[in-house]
């Protein structure tokens, strides 16, 4: 195949709810495209596990945690597949994968349909403007109903979902699909369903197929005047249908729906045809970077080989042979043996080895096409870094990284674990921007923080398995913050005379709260010093002094945010003033004004969506209310009710278990960080008492 024909490249993701079968589908795709020679099931009896689940833990749990990139070829097209995790606690992985994708296959379970996690993932796809096609899987399962699921795509996700196929039989009689474009019955025969066989439509389905085809044409004719005319003149061609569909998919106004059962080897090849036909090539998508030489003005990067190279490192993995960096090349060509610059660190790195990944195996290549997804070997960088050649200085726009909301102390059980823990944490932090690790200065404890209980649990588990590092964990801690609620003036003099040269610095000004709006800075320091009342060289020391106080608020010891300090007066001494003296003055001023500025404790509020059968909506509402939650609203559809609410994170521990018992396991929920809000009075009081009982007064 023409490897450099970019119009035949597809960078796609496979995204969906945890149990809709995406790993099984990916496995089948790799099998049919000749990348693997045997099929292993996710929780298979052969103990090999599906190829895309590259980590042992994933194999054991039967879920996909880290996204592995792999490529394959189908019908003269090159397809790069990013397998994305489905659980909400790992959404950064999904989000990062979506950033580098041009299109996606949204898999839905033919029985369970659109579930709350499908909604989260779909919202993320909308955010990154990823065109989608849908695949309704598991039609061999009892209770499968693709029409209902298609309707849910319309009602719950507001997709213009249109069935391009009809099922021939359902549940254990599911035999194949009717292609509504060619009006042929398609069966998947031979070993592992490899042979795609076209036959006439079964006689009892001819009428239904004609009706469904008309519905389909009606919907897609909106995207092509030519097709609309052709329909009226009864001269519709397959080409016209494909073109109109592609237009609709690229503008994100149409979601064609395909059917099958990956497990039973049905429907996968036709889905691959649809990927090639309807999902965009890198040419079809406009990507922007920011120009670092021009005040971060946005510039368009184009997948042209003659332009300077721009590549984004979107995923790091530590393998047996060192760090593997997955990159999307947005512009130019990445060549083996050349040098590139990391635009964050400005460090030059050499492209020693360039590989194309197939799950855990790799293939060396000399150069990447523009628009391709490849991996670099042994390049020191962090996830989200941009590489360019020396002629330009740009960075791909920053990715949306949510704040960490929960933390856990980890303590190695023995010396060996202690040695390995640093290595493990270092790697996880580089790989996952939502995972953080720090050592508490006072207690000496190592604290890890992230997006949810499960997120941290998985890393603790990975430490054990991959690094042989056993740790004891503390109780999960909510990441509270502190802020002030009142604007107050301050005037503080730091004076010390203990023999030798003394210390002197006076600072005065106003401290005020910064309203909590989107993009509001956490801290702002403004110097309005005129006439040198504080010498210019000491002003950075004043700012530094204040910043040192922000790590630990005086209410409960959590970081302080939303504060603007304006320094407008001060005094220095020709002998006794120094940077140290002004730093100390700032710290003293902070201690003095903090209490007067009416500090409050902020708690992380999560956006929680609970979904379940309507008969449980009372229980679902109550479960939210009992947790100090605010119900935003409820949507009722087809016997299901979905409640959107905002609940303090501290109240969400153990919610999964409670919800299960309240709803006989029939409801599920998803959760993501929404914002910080002041905690109610009694909660503040309790937190303060708890803190004061632990920490001696340091005044």
């Amino acid at each position: 195949m023409a490897m450099n024909d970019l119009s035949k490249t597809r960078n796609i993701g496979i995204s969906a709810h945890i149990d809709s079968g995406k790993t099984t589908l990916t496995e089948r795709i790799l099998y049919y495209t000749g990348k693997i020679h045997a099929i292993h099931e996710v929780r298979g009896k052969d103990e090999v596990g599906a190829t895309m689940d590259s980590m042992e833990l994933e194999r054991e749990r039967g879920i996909t945690i880290a996204s592995a990139a792999t490529y394959c070829e189908w019908d003269n097209h090159q397809i790069n597949i990013i397998d994305t995790p489905g659980h909400v606690d790992f959404t950064i992985e999904v989000e990062r994968a979506l950033r580098v994708l041009d299109g996606a296959v949204l898999i839905l379970c033919g029985v369970a349909g659109v579930q709350s996690q499908s909604m989260t993932v779909d919202r993320q796809m909308k955010r990154y403007k990823v065109p989608r096609i849908a695949f309704i899987n598991k039609l061999d399962r009892s209770g499968a109903d693709p029409r209902r699921v298609t309707q849910q795509l319309r009602d719950k996700l507001a997709h213009n979902a249109v069935m391009f196929q009809l099922p021939i039989g359902l549940e254990n009689e599911f035999a194949g699909v009717i292609d509504l474009i060619t009006l042929k019955a398609i069966y998947f025969e031979g070993e592992e369903g490899r042979d795609v066989v076209e036959k006439d439509i079964p006689a009892d389905m001819v009428d239904a197929a004609a009706v469904a085809r008309e519905e389909m044409l009606d919907a897609i004719s909106m995207f092509s005047d030519e097709l609309m005319e052709a329909i009226l003149e009864e001269r519709v061609t397959e080409k016209l249908i494909h073109e109109a569909t592609r237009n609709g998919v690229l503008s994100m106004d149409l979601t064609p729906v395909f059917l099958g059962s990956a497990y039973k080897n049905k429907g996968v090849q036709k889905l691959l045809d649809a990927v090639n036909r309807y999902l965009p090539s890198p040419f079809d998508i406009e990507n922007t970077a920011v120009d670092l030489t021009n005040d971060e003005a946005p510039i368009i990067v184009e997948p042209k080989p003659e332009k300077p190279v721009v590549a984004l490192a979107f995923k790091l993995e530590d393998g047996r042979y060192g760090q593997l960096t997955y990159c999307r090349v947005y512009q130019g060509v990445l060549k083996k043996g050349t040098s590139i610059i990391n635009s964050r660190t400005q460090k030059k790195v050499k492209v020693g080895r360039l590989v194309r990944m197939h799950s855990n195996e790799m293939q060396d290549i000399e150069e990447s096409s523009s628009g391709d997804i490849v991996a670099l070997f042994g390049v020191d960088c962090a996830s989200g870094d941009t590489f360019t050649d020396e002629s330009i200085s740009v960075s791909m726009t920053s990715m949306h990284v949510p704040a960490a909301v929960i933390s856990l102390s980890v303590k190695p059980v023995d010396q060996k674990s202690s040695d390995n823990m640093g290595k493990a944490l270092g790697r996880f932090v580089r790989e996952d921007p939502t995972f953080r690790s720090e050592v508490n200065r006072e207690s000496g404890e190592t604290i890890i923080s992230g997006m949810g209980e499960l997120h941290l649990e998985v890393y603790v588990e990975r430490m054990k398995r991959e690094y042989n590092c056993e740790v004891e964990t503390g109780a999960p801690q909510v990441a509270y913050r502190e802020t002030i609620s009142k604007s107050v003036p301050f005037d503080y003099t730091h004076k010390k005379q203990t023999g030798g040269s003394g210390q002197y610095g006076r600072i005065a000004g106003i401290v005020e709260p910064i309203p909590a709006e989107e993009d509001a800075p956490d801290f702002e320091f403004v110097s309005e010093i005129k006439g040198g009342s504080i010498p210019t060289e000491y002003i950075p020391a004043v700012e530094k002094g204040f910043r040192m106080c922000l790590d630990k608020g005086r209410l409960i010891g959590f970081p302080v945010l939303g504060m603007r300090i304006i320094v407008n007066d001060g005094k220095s001494h020709s002998v006794d003033s120094s940077e140290m003296a002004f730093q100390a003055a700032a710290r003293g001023a902070f201690r003095e004004f903090y209490g007067r500025a009416k500090p409050v404790i902020l708690e992380p509020i999560m956006k929680v969506e609970v979904e379940g059968p309507q008969e449980f909506q009372g229980a679902m509402l109550k479960s939210i209310m009992q947790r100090r939650g605010t119900v935003v609203g409820t949507t009722e559809e087809g016997g299901y009710s979905r409640t959107e609410s905002e609940v303090p994170l501290s109240e969400m521990f153990g919610y999964a278990t409670d919800l299960r018992s309240l709803t006989q396991g029939k409801a599920e929920f998803s959760m993501e960080f929404a914002r910080y809000l002041p905690a109610p009075g009694e909660v503040q009081k309790e937190l303060k008492e708890k803190y004061e009982s632990k920490v001696p007064d340091d005044d």
């Binding site: 409820t634 949507t635 009722e636 002041p678």
Partner: protein, 227 residues
Amino acid sequence: MYRKFVNARSPLRLLEKGLNGGLGIGNIGVLVAGHGVGKTPFLVGVALDELLRQGTVLHVALDQTVSHVRAHYDTVYEELASSTHLDDAAATHTEVDQHRSIRAYAPSGFSAAKLRDAVKVESEAGSKPSLILIEGLEEISREDLLDVGALATELAAEVWLSFATSGEQVTGIPEEVKALDDIVSVVLALEPGDGSVVLRALKDHDNPDLSELHVALDPKTLLLVRN
């Protein structure tokens, strides 16, 4: 400004005066306007007035998603809080949110029985509504509307419905509303006027003389204002 002053100065007090005491509990009011004229901001304005007076609101949306309606509330609240310099605006916002529930249904999936179910669930969870808003109704049967009226009486609540007309100007009470005239107490029209969107009474209980309402919707801020 303190909340009680915001309440006292609300243009809604003017509306109540114009309607000889307002809609009244147990009654149904109808708002008619063209598409995009401002039915949702008007109803949100009415709801926020009720919420700031410690009421509880159930907002039923048949043609919008929960997050869409919520966004309307947030926008109008922020405008209201900043234009009135409302004291303790952030805490009040949280409180307002806690007493408002939005329910979204597919238009075909809504009925008076559904509303009863929703009210029951909300009441059991501690939010018995004192004001119910129903937006996006295309049609409602006489029986259903009678039942909505009965529910309003049981709850001692007021109910506002909104109906869309085809043009921007409202020529009179639409036919589908006229047929239910005996069940509906108040009909208001919202129409684009000179630089603002003006409110006009088409029916005021049994009062044959319709007075001027002196209330408008500012199309820029989406706030209800004196006119």
